[in-house]
């Protein structure tokens, strides 16, 4: 082997560990899940080829549609409530004159440090009937019944609220970084030209942060569509009458509670296709906007 050939081989050798791990733990399971989605399973030992029957059943499965509906409601909440709030917070905490802004940034980001599981447990404690802080406070302030069942009657708003607590600070960091890169000369020039704060935001700031905004929107949508831990812990499953059932919760229930990994794989692939379509759509929109 010549010295040049040996040197040429080196990058591939360095890549090899990653490729092996990626192949064994990502590509092979992906391939296996395609095979599984064409099989019907019943418990750990029974499996039979059913072709596209899992996908056919999925198209007529009312629970799947309920899961999709709930997931989309949560996603809408994430995009239309969470992101504007994150942007607003970022703009507020980007003001040089604001005292304690570094501490506030840490405060808003801090839920990320404890993780979603802890936050879900805390949310369940806060929203508990009678003993929960929220009902205690509302009872004392406006006389709301201590028994008001948030986790039975207001499941999606509660989930959205808990996600707000978790992710507003996280998304705020992205917006903050983007805002700090907005050309100050442009803003000043707009001010000199007589543009007010609203006009400056729409004409200068928003276009400048649009690429980051698009990325955050995409990240938010993809994360929301994969919602699992929050309802699983908060509602110990999917909640009364499946009001908190999400696509991934349904996937989990089908695969690990009912024991049909084939059907769960089919759900997983439908979700994967949905996610891929959204990602591609976002890229195309972003490209068009840039053009």
């Amino acid at each position: 082997m010549t010295a040049r050939a040996r040197v040429g081989l080196a990058p591939y050798l360095f890549l090899l560990p990653f490729l092996v791990v990626f192949g064994v733990f990502v590509l092979a399971p992906l391939g296996e899940s395609v095979v599984l989605s064409t099989r019907q399973m019943f418990g750990p030992g029974a499996s039979v080829f059913v072709g596209l029957d899992n996908f056919r059943f999925l198209l007529h499965d009312p629970l799947f549609y309920k899961a999709v509906r709930n997931t989309l409601v949560f996603t809408a909440g994430s995009v239309f409530i969470q992101l504007p709030l994150a942007l607003g917070l970022a703009m507020l905490l980007n003001r040089p004159g604001l005292r304690g802004r570094y501490v506030l940034r840490l405060v808003f980001f801090s839920p990320q440090l404890v993780g979603l599981v802890f936050l879900a447990v805390m949310t369940s404690v806060i929203f508990q009937k009678r003993t929960g802080v929220l009902n205690q406070a509302l009872h004392a302030l406006v006389g709301v019944s201590l028994d008001y069942p948030w986790l039975e009657r207001q499941i999606m708003p509660t989930l959205i609220l808990a996600a707000l607590w978790m992710y507003v600070g996280f998304n705020m960091i992205y917006f903050l970084a983007a805002l700090q890169n907005v050309d100050r000369e442009l803003t000043e020039a707009a001010s000199i030209d007589g543009a007010g704060p609203g006009r400056r935001f729409l004409a200068v700031t928003l276009p400048a942060i649009a690429p980051v905004g698009g990325f955050v929107v995409l990240l938010s949508i993809l994360g929301s569509l994969q919602l699992f831990e929050l309802p699983y812990i908060l509602l110990t499953g999917s909640g009364p009458d499946n009001k908190g059932l999400t696509i991934v919760t349904y996937l989990y229930q089908s695969g690990f509670e009912t024991g049909d990994l084939g059907y769960a794989s089919a759900i997983g692939w439908v979700l994967a296709i949905l996610l891929a379509a959204l990602a591609v759509g976002q890229r195309l929109l972003a490209r068009e906007a840039r053009a």
Partner: protein, 478 residues
């Protein structure tokens, strides 16, 4: 730019050329990485399966069970042909994952697995030869254990007529009530025979003493979010979700009557129930405060209350569950554990002997009650005077004997893997009825039962659609 690209190549070449022969194939850094990769692979592959030969592995999910078994296992190991038993306590989800993962992939699991009902039922699916546990039916028959053990205790481990587990318990259910509150109000519980009696006789305890417009306490801890209690109450009435041949039957008049009654407990003018959960600090606080008068209590739960709410010692009493109709069943069942031998286990005959020693011995039955308040399913051990011992926590009642007196009435259960799904759909039906009652509190009983039947039909149709598309559940074995 070209010079920039050449520079690293030149450096790498300079390194490589200093090494003689095959060593020069990689740079020193490359060899270090390769050595780490090989070393860690050897450790992972070689170290993972190290297991002393002759050792038996056993998994359980309950630390108190493990404590009870240890002396017996040590004794077994010291016998001439005994073997050391490696007893591992796993959390229930971990045990479930390991067990199902092993059954799915064919990787050996423990030689003995103690599984809780809901976990074990995941293995009871598909054709008989696909069940990961050894069929124990013939062994049980040959050893006369089918008659020696309370018959209902076999039902959760019976799949397609074959038994795959040795039962650990009976888990009869009684009603636990706050004797201090009930007796202070001058209420005589001996006049209670049915649930209607219970609501009527106990009603004075729901007075609004503080004038806030709401009762100071409710009569029973029950809610739409309590699936185990819901199942226990439906089983008590007699129908359950599956018949004795494991055919689905959710929409029955009995089930409709029970679900309608339960909805009336939660909402409407006849409300008597409150959302006071088990295994939860807030729920425990409410129980200690007397926010609920009674709770549904299997034998094992009495132990948890004793551990978690010592403040209630001497304030509680037990009574048989009120029946759904005069002369009806006064108990039900909640929970259950079995000991199974996986098919992959070596020397199943020896393991069967060990399993019998663990579950059938009088010493262990006694320990099970002393440490866990659980009554044994082994009928020969029911004469042990320990069950007649007064229990100070329950105001001096002979709790063990009271549970054992109800053991023969405990209803049989299904092992169907669709049982959890059926229970969830019935829960959905209950939620629907409760919402109806909240919207229209004046709904009369007949309308409520008729609506309950409609909702149970929807529930049954949904579960049936999933069972019907399952070739294995249809009984076909491709």
């Amino acid at each position: 730019m070209a010079q920039d690209r050449e520079q690293p190549i030149a450096v790498a070449r300079a390194f490589a050329l200093r090494w003689p022969g095959w060593l020069a194939w990689l740079s020193p850094g490359g060899w270090v990485i390769a050595a780490i990769a090989v070393g860690t692979t050897v450790v992972v592959v070689g170290g993972g399966s190290a297991r002393p030969s002759g050792e038996v592995r056993m998994w359980t999910f309950a630390p108190p069970h493990a404590r009870m078994y240890e002396p017996l296992l040590e004794q077994w190991a010291s016998e001439p042909d005994g073997r050391r038993v490696d007893l591992e306590v796993l959390s229930l989800p971990a045990l479930e994952r390991r067990m199902l993962g092993g059954f799915l992939s064919g990787v050996p699991v423990a030689d003995l697995i103690e599984a809780e009902r809901r976990v074990a039922s995941r293995a009871f699916a598909g054709p008989l030869d696909a069940v990961g546990f050894l069929d124990l039916t013939d062994r049980l028959r040959e050893d006369g254990l089918l008659d020696a053990i309370n018959p209902a205790s076999f039902s959760p481990w019976t799949f397609r007529g074959r038994i795959f587990g040795l039962p650990h318990d009976v888990h009869p259910v009684m009603l636990c009530y706050r004797a201090d509150l009930v007796e202070a109000a001058g209420i005589d519980v001996s006049t209670i025979e049915t649930w209607d009696d219970f609501a009527r006789v106990m009603r004075p305890l729901m007075a609004d003493g503080d004038g806030d417009g709401e009762p100071d306490r409710y009569l029973i801890a029950f809610w739409t979010t309590f699936p185990d209690q819901l199942e226990a109450l439906i089983l008590q009435a007699g129908d359950g979700f599956f018949d004795e041949e494991d055919h689905l039957r959710i929409a029955t008049p009995t089930n409709a009557r029970v679900v309608a009654s339960l909805a009336g407990w939660i909402a409407g003018p006849g409300r008597i129930a409150a959302d006071v959960p088990e295994f939860n600090a807030a729920g425990n606080k409410q129980k200690i405060d007397g926010y609920v008068v009674a709770a549904i209590m299997p034998d094992w739960l009495s132990n948890i209350w004793r551990q978690q709410m010592p403040e209630l010692a001497g304030k509680l009493k037990l009574m048989p569950l009120p029946a759904w109709e005069p002369g009806g069943r006064r108990t039900s069942v909640w929970g259950g554990t079995m000991l199974g031998i996986p098919r992959t286990a070596e020397d199943p005959d020896r393991l069967w002997e060990l399993a019998k020693r663990l579950y059938l011995s009088p010493e262990l039955s006694r320990a099970l009650y002393e440490e866990g308040d659980i009554v044994t399913p082994v009928k020969a051990n029911w004469s042990d005077p320990i069950y007649d011992r007064p229990d100070p926590y329950f105001s001096g009642q002979a709790k063990g004997r009271m549970y054992l007196d109800l053991a023969p009435q405990v209803p049989r259960r299904t092992s169907s893997p669709f049982n959890t799904m059926a229970m969830q759909r019935v829960q959905d039906a209950l939620v629907g009825l409760v919402e109806l009652l909240r919207d229209r509190p004046g709904t009369d009983r007949a309308t409520l039962e008729s609506r309950a039947m409609d909702l149970l039909r929807v529930a049954e149709a949904d579960v049936r659609s999933r069972m019907d598309r399952n070739v294995f559940a249809r009984g076909e074995t491709p």
